[in-house]
Amino acid sequence: MPTKEPTFELSSLYIYQTDSCNLCCSHCWISPKFSQEKQSSLPLDSLKRTVSEAKSLGLQSVKITGGEPLLYRELPSFLSFLDAEGLSVSIETNGTLLEEDIISHFRSTKVQQVSVSVDAASEKIHDEIRGVKGSFRSTLEGLRLLSKAGVNSQIMMTLQRKNSKEIPGVIRLSEELGAGSLKINHLIPTGRGKKAFARGDNLGLEELIRLYHLVQEKYPWPENLEIIFDLPLTFRSIETIKRGGTANCRILNILGILANGDFSICGIGQTVPELRMGNIDHDSVSSVWKNNPILKDLRQSLPSKLKGICHDCIFKFQCLGGCRANAYALTGDFYTPYFLCQRLFDAGKFPSSRRISPREDL
């Protein structure tokens, strides 16, 4: 009897609306070019047609990111369209270009969340990391405007050696600025992050784990602020695993659209050209989603073909090996283990209670 193939919904589109940014962050994972000019290279009509078509594949949400998405000239018009389509929208921005008019438009088009990067409570450290003097003040002003308008904001912080002592300050700042959540990301070695790793800007495993436990278990959380420390599941305590939160690579249910209209598995196509798969101007999203060999292979092979410690981890069906784009960018292989988990294992610190082997009879 033929078995029915599992279907994969395209639940979210990640739209990289520009390939440029008005900041020059030392850790950026996709290295957009530096520019302060408005851009409209992504053709709005094709974009709208693609989004409408994707609804038949299960599309529910759209993440607008970049480069800096506020440099996209057609953003207000695109947001109105997404609202009319009834899609849930989130935006990732550096916050420096947020002004009352566009924030008011966020509100009227029911944008669910605006994530804004703040890497330190210290102006000097933030500006150093972001590569542009004055960015701290502009970003904070943007966050204040969001809060005043009642738009839900999330603060994102990328943890590295330079700002590792800034966590308490950023938590306080997040509370003062009325953010709904704070997401603490670890540095990843792609794009400019690769050079950051080469310089030794990344934190060692022990320091990451120490900070994680400090934040998740010891630091007093402000009442109205959710704090998400984004580390793979195996780093997390059993209590925080139970609490849930983001942990999985959504690679099987997302598609990226780059600033030139190319499809990619996410934003990684910006730095790894072989992961591009057609263009919104001349390819249908249904055809790409259903027929692209890279996507088909990922669906068949995750998590069964994961290698290294990821193959032996009890969380592999949940996290699918962490960020697969990162694995590919580092090694040219989607199935190599997540670099942090493998380092933990190589250091002899991967918990045996989170491994599948050895199997014993129950």
């Binding site: 305590s237 059993i238 139970k242 009890i314 949940q318 918990p351 491994r355 009879d361």
Partner: protein, 102 residues
């Protein structure tokens, strides 16, 4: 026979742990993992204890008696309901199956 009224649940019912299941214990709970389906269940310390009783020697009634003994201030009926829900979840996820009592 345990002195607990189990409603539709048979107090003498025994369960077997399905063969491929991986059990991993930690200080504050435990995980059950099915390598075939990928199902993963987190168990808090009480769940872990209930599971171990079922695994090692007990039937449902024994598990309930034991848990009630540990938490005497919790209503017996509530313990029964909680154990029932817990067992249903384990069954639905394919971690345990009812065993013939014969």
């Amino acid at each position: 026979m345990p002195d607990i009224v189990l409603g539709k649940m048979d107090p003498t019912q025994r369960y077997k742990i399905n063969k491929e299941i991986v059990y991993r214990e930690e200080d504050n709970g435990a995980f059950l993992f099915d390598p075939d389906s990928g199902n993963l269940k987190y168990m808090n310390p009480t769940g872990k204890e209930t599971f171990l009783i079922l695994k090692e020697k007990g039937d449902v009634g024994q598990a309930i008696s034991h848990i009630h003994g540990q938490y005497a201030d919790v209503d017996q009926e509530q313990v029964r309901k909680d154990v029932k829900i817990f067992l249903e979840q384990l069954k639905e996820n394919g971690f345990i199956s009812p065993q013939d009592n014969g």
